[in-house]
């Protein structure tokens, strides 16, 4: 006797999307957690956080005013001061990229496609719903995304970012944008920004930055005490985690890593080449290239990407703690030192890379560009030239979120690691 087939509820689109996301996230989390021995214990907070958010459907900011941000240039301090919670919408899911691909050109960059794909899917892993999205006018694709997001029904605030950051006009333009945004964000959250409140959030974000810097400085040690994939996990968590929880967890990690340094612990292999990672940002779960590097016996000791280093590197300095001065100071932090390739000049980025290479005693640079991200693709040439001039080996990888073609990529990465090892051997 065959039992009567039970009436089975078909997944809603949100459920389906959550399942897709969960599948993808847990696959990457498994690699991150299980393919490496000796993960720091304090990293468990972050592994669990990702699993909770992407696989178990835990909403970290339920019931709070979350404001989506589309790029690293949106001042967190100001959103926090207005009682909002900034959540970075840059997304790394292939699932979402495929959704985005349905309404965006095939040649557009994976990150923008995935970010819009997630917004389109109407699921939000972080909170009950995001109504407002702050979109800076960085690259063309993000600029045009604003219209699409409006179509999807989001309230989009266009934050004007100048394409030139060296000029005084650009600086003044951006300061004006941030001042206007400061006013606007209070309208969104309905809470006034006070002098004291802003000072406090500058301090809080500053503390997160201090924790990050502390951790980052530890990576200068040989042997390197922590793998780059863990740092990417940590900084990616900053996208959406509660600021203070994040800082606390990062400080706990610092403590553990400091102990490791004292013990001479080596998180990587004996001869692992030390890598500086740059270019398009690895955003969870698209940690494809970083993981490949570290699985190929490399170790990422530093990075220059907007999902990690650029997110937390530069700190706010205020001379007089007045609203005017603080807002301007915050504005400067997000413009002057930003090494995003959307600006006309890229000298700063090259200089940063060379400095990272030297101060982190690195062996080589790996430059990831998402195909379709024309600015990173274009800048590759000048960076490669500068690196060659400095005698810094660099591997340029053009890639996207698709899981295919890994064989080719891993061959290249491994060959690069082998050549770095040979280079180091010869130097000795």
């Amino acid at each position: 006797m065959m039992s009567e087939p039970q009436e089975r509820a078909i997944e809603t689109s949100q459920q389906r999307h959550a399942r897709h996301q969960g599948m993808e996230a847990s696959e990457v989390l498994d690699v991150v957690e299980k393919s490496f021995s000796g993960n720091p214990k304090a990293m468990q907070y972050f592994y669990d956080l990702f699993r909770d958010v992407y696989c178990n459907g835990v909403k970290t900011h339920s019931g709070k005013e979350t404001i989506g941000t589309m790029c690293v240039q949106i001042p967190d301090e100001i959103i926090h001061a207005a009682g909002g919670i900034p959540v970075r919408m840059c997304n790394g899911f292939y699932t979402d990229e495929e959704i985005g691909g349905e309404f965006m050109p095939a040649k557009s960059c994976s990150l923008v496609k995935a970010s819009l794909g997630m917004l389109k899917s109407e699921t939000n892993p972080y909170s009950d719903g995001i109504k407002t999205i702050v979109n800076p006018t960085t690259c063309d694709q993000k600029k045009k995304a604003a219209g699409m997001m409006r179509e999807m029904g989001y309230q989009v605030y266009d934050m004007e970012l100048p394409p030139v950051k060296e000029s005084e006009e650009g600086r003044e333009y951006w300061r004006r944008s941030v001042r206007k945004f400061t006013q606007e964000v209070t309208r969104i959250t309905g809470k006034k920004i006070t002098k004291k409140g802003l000072k406090e959030t500058i301090r809080k974000v500053g503390q997160a930055q201090i924790a990050y810097h502390r951790l980052n400085d530890l990576r200068k040690h040989t042997p390197v005490p922590i793998l780059g994939k863990d740092i990417f996990m940590l900084t990616n968590a900053y996208f959406f985690d509660d600021l203070e929880c994040w800082t606390q967890a990062a400080e706990a990690l610092c403590g553990e890593i400091e102990q490791r340094v004292a013990n001479g612990f080596n998180a990587a292999g004996r001869h692992s080449p030390r890598i500086i990672f740059t270019g398009s940002p690895p955003v969870f779960p698209n940690l494809k290239i970083p993981l490949m590097i570290e699985l190929a016996d490399g170790v990422i000791v530093a990075d220059e990407t907007c999902s990690s280093n650029r997110l937390l590197n530069d700190m706010v300095s205020v001379d007089e703690w007045f609203m005017y001065d603080m807002v301007d100071a915050v504005a400067d932090r997000y413009l002057k030192s930003c090494t995003c390739p959307i600006f006309t000049m890229n000298d700063d980025r090259i200089r940063r890379l060379i400095d990272l290479y030297r101060s982190f005693h690195a062996d080589g640079v790996i430059y990831q560009a998402f195909s379709g991200c024309s600015v990173y693709e274009m800048e590759q040439r000048s960076v490669a030239k500068a690196m060659e001039k400095e005698g810094i080996p660099m591997l340029y990888i053009e890639t996207d979120y698709s899981p295919s073609g890994t064989g080719q990529l891993s061959t290249r990465i491994e060959a690069f690691m082998e050549s770095l090892k040979a280079r180091r051997r010869n130097k000795r």
């Binding site: 060296e166 005084e168 600086r171 500058i202 301090r203 500053g206 503390q207 201090i210 810097h213 400085d217 590197n313 530069d314 700190m315 706010v316 300095s317 205020v318 001379d319 007089e320 007045f322 005017y324 001065d325 301007d328 100071a329 400067d332 932090r333 002057k336 030192s337 000298d347 700063d348 200089r351 940063r352 060379i354 400095d355 030297r358 101060s359």
Partner: protein, 322 residues
């Protein structure tokens, strides 16, 4: 913790406040204790602060000496001008422009006025880039005038009424004696056309000085011919402001806190010796730099104060509250 690390973590603002106060008391009241540092001080130790100043600003004897008859000025006896200059350089070479940032009484007064503004919760003003570039030339113009007018007197092209022209318009002459209860410089001198014009301008500038330094940090320093004079010799000074361009992220933190709005401190990543003409070497930039070793102060090539993350965090009040 070694001394260097302690210095790097120093609360620079407070340290400087006390240092400035000490220097102020020494220069403005030191004469009463019979302290005499001579007449070649590279700072506004105003000679009109009679009986109380512990030394005399070099600009006063310089203008005097240059006003000698040419027959004497351009004779071997005129070499005495070089003597004064030599003494000036001896003072200057040690501290470089830190004379402005730490010792100059007029600068200290401006900082106090700024402090008052801060207490009142009024924001400061700044020049736009364009204004900055136009106004910065004024101090050179003043320097040229304070050299050529006395020379003109010595050459009998101008009357002695135009003697010590800069002192006549310098607000230090009016302001510093006030601290000794001496109001006698607050006069227009009608005894001659030149004196009258100069003292009138001087009084006008004194008025500007009070408003200006209230609204703008170190308002007068921007026009100070002493600053321009310093800059000519600053290359040879032992005290140096250095920048490690490769470590700079061009975040502009240093520029933000700069009282003198010196932009190259942030933007110039190639120049190692970053001391600019407007600089008062107050070292606020070094204190506000979050990049390890990007800015530093050297004496004789030895770093004595260096930008550190640690120090930055402490000075910005971002340390974890215990």
């Amino acid at each position: 913790m070694n001394i260097k690390a302690r210095i790097d973590r120093l609360d620079w603002r407070r340290f400087r406040f006390w240092l400035q106060l000490a220097a102020f008391l020494l220069l403005v009241y030191g004469g009463r204790l019979a302290i005499d540092l001579g007449q070649s001080l590279p700072t506004f130790a105003c000679g009109y602060n009679r009986g109380a100043t512990a030394g005399v600003c070099y600009l006063l004897p310089l203008q005097h000496q240059l006003a000698q008859p040419w027959s004497r000025l351009f004779s071997p006896a005129g070499l005495e001008v070089l003597g004064g200059l030599g003494l000036f350089l001896l003072w200057f070479v040690v501290l470089n422009k830190a004379w402005c940032g730490f010792i100059c009484p007029l600068g200290t007064i401006q900082d106090w006025i700024t402090g008052l503004r801060k207490k009142l919760g009024i924001r400061y003003s700044s020049y736009t880039d364009e204004q900055f570039n136009q106004l910065r030339l004024i101090k050179y113009a003043l320097l040229l005038l304070l050299i050529f007018i006395p020379l003109g007197i010595g050459g009998q092209f101008l009357s002695h009424d135009w003697g010590t022209p800069f002192c006549q318009i310098c607000p230090a002459r009016m302001v510093i004696p006030l601290f000794n209860g001496d109001f006698s410089q607050w006069v227009i001198n009608f005894s001659s056309t030149g004196k009258m014009i100069l003292t009138a301008i001087g009084m006008f500038i004194t008025g500007l000085f009070f408003v200006g330094s209230f609204l703008k940090k170190r308002f007068f320093c921007f026009f100070c011919p002493m600053s321009a004079f310093h800059y000519i010799f600053s290359k040879f000074a032992l005290f140096k402001l250095k920048k490690e361009g490769s470590k700079c992220t061009v975040c502009g933190d240093c520029y933000r806190v700069c009282d003198m709005q010196i932009k190259p401190i942030a933007d110039n990543v190639t120049k190692k010796d970053i001391l600019m003409d407007d600089c008062i070497l107050c070292l606020k930039c070094v204190a506000a730099c979050p990049e390890e070793g990007a800015l530093r102060v050297d004496i004789l090539g030895k770093p004595i104060f260096e930008a550190t993350k640690d120090g930055f965090v402490k000075r910005m009040g971002m340390e974890k509250k215990q």
